[in-house]
Assembly symmetry: C2
Homo-oligomer: 208 residues x 2
């Protein structure tokens, strides 16, 4: 049994704290080495999954025309989103994706179950949540390799699936952009810009 | 800008690989020190969140009678679940929770938004997914402190919320049990028992 010490705890927190949500204004476009991508994917599939179902699929998107089509979807959806923030002049100045500037994109999918999954009988969302755990593992290992990840959420999953010709056996959970960066910000950009404040432990913890 | 090296990459993968989903047959009941719990919660709130909304809440449950009531809910739900696996004699032998044996439980909640959240306008689930990222961070830091975590999913969220008197402003995402353990298994228990095989990278990755 592996016992970890203060060094491991401190290094893990350093990685967790140094992870950023990276956008196109930071990506440099340098290719990600295949062996590095593999290490990042190994981290992803080390995630927990309900009933050890491992319901994840990772579609690596390098193709330029597919990325262009997904970018156009983003532009369409973001035009709608921007109207909801029309009273906030900051919104329109934000770079909210890096689909084309990144080295590659990854569509992370949930494979719908074909049999009863242990632990997923009461809470049907557990399978999707397993895929999110894999995304967080991927994100952390990418950061350990000094690679930035951005999660692009202003996209309609059905449109992305159509562009990538993904069957109805799968649900899109996250659309990620990965690449080397000029720098990682020392704090989340939305915190720096004053969009939201950082919540403290005491604000988010209750005792029963 | 913090640049990580092979040492950090290797140590991170060691932690990811050593993390287990821990059940009541492993927990020892030893209390978790307050300062350690705080470090684990700090890791949780270092997670990414859509629009930096940080929509998480952590309810620490130590109270014995509340835990007893939640355990009874588990027993009721698991009796239903077991019927779905009646052809598999292994199911009934599995210990699937550690609600009472653990040092403490944490109900991890999603706080429903009261205003429009940046990045959550197209995909409404992004807020819940942020909370799952926090759970995964928590799970990893707990492991770095040699503390086991079990995610108990055979519980009806509404019943748990009622027992814990949680308002409708919140949705239960995960019910976790934490504690020191006699040992961490070297592989997931369901893999060891032959319930599922481990999927390889090549089985879960496609290239476009």
């Amino acid at each position: 049994m592996k016992a970890f010490d203060l060094h491991a705890q401190t290094l893990l927190q350093t990685i967790l704290s140094a992870r950023r949500d990276v956008r196109g204004n930071r990506f440099q476009g340098t290719p990600i080495e295949d062996e590095v991508l593999r290490k990042i994917l190994e981290a992803a599939i080390s995630a927990p999954s309900v009933g050890f179902s491992q319901p994840w699929k990772f579609v690596i998107v390098k193709d330029t025309s597919k990325r262009e089509a997904i970018y156009e979807e983003f532009v369409r959806e973001n035009a709608k989103a921007a109207k909801l923030f029309s009273e906030d002049s900051l919104y329109s100045t934000l770079k909210l994706e890096g689909i084309k500037e990144s080295a590659l994109n990854i569509a992370v999918l949930y494979q719908k179950p074909t049999k009863t999954v242990l632990g997923q009988t009461t809470q049907k969302k557990m399978g999707e949540y397993s895929v999110v755990c894999a995304i967080q593992n991927l994100w952390l290992m990418a950061r350990a390799y000094n690679i930035g990840v951005g999660w692009v959420s202003i996209l309609r999953p059905k449109r992305v699936k159509k562009i990538l010709e993904i069957s109805d056996d799968y649900k899109l959970i996250g659309y990620l952009t990965l690449g080397y960066v000029d720098k990682f910000l020392d704090e989340p950009e939305l915190l720096k810009l004053g969009w939201e404040n950082k919540k403290t432990i005491d604000e988010v913890v209750e005792w029963v």
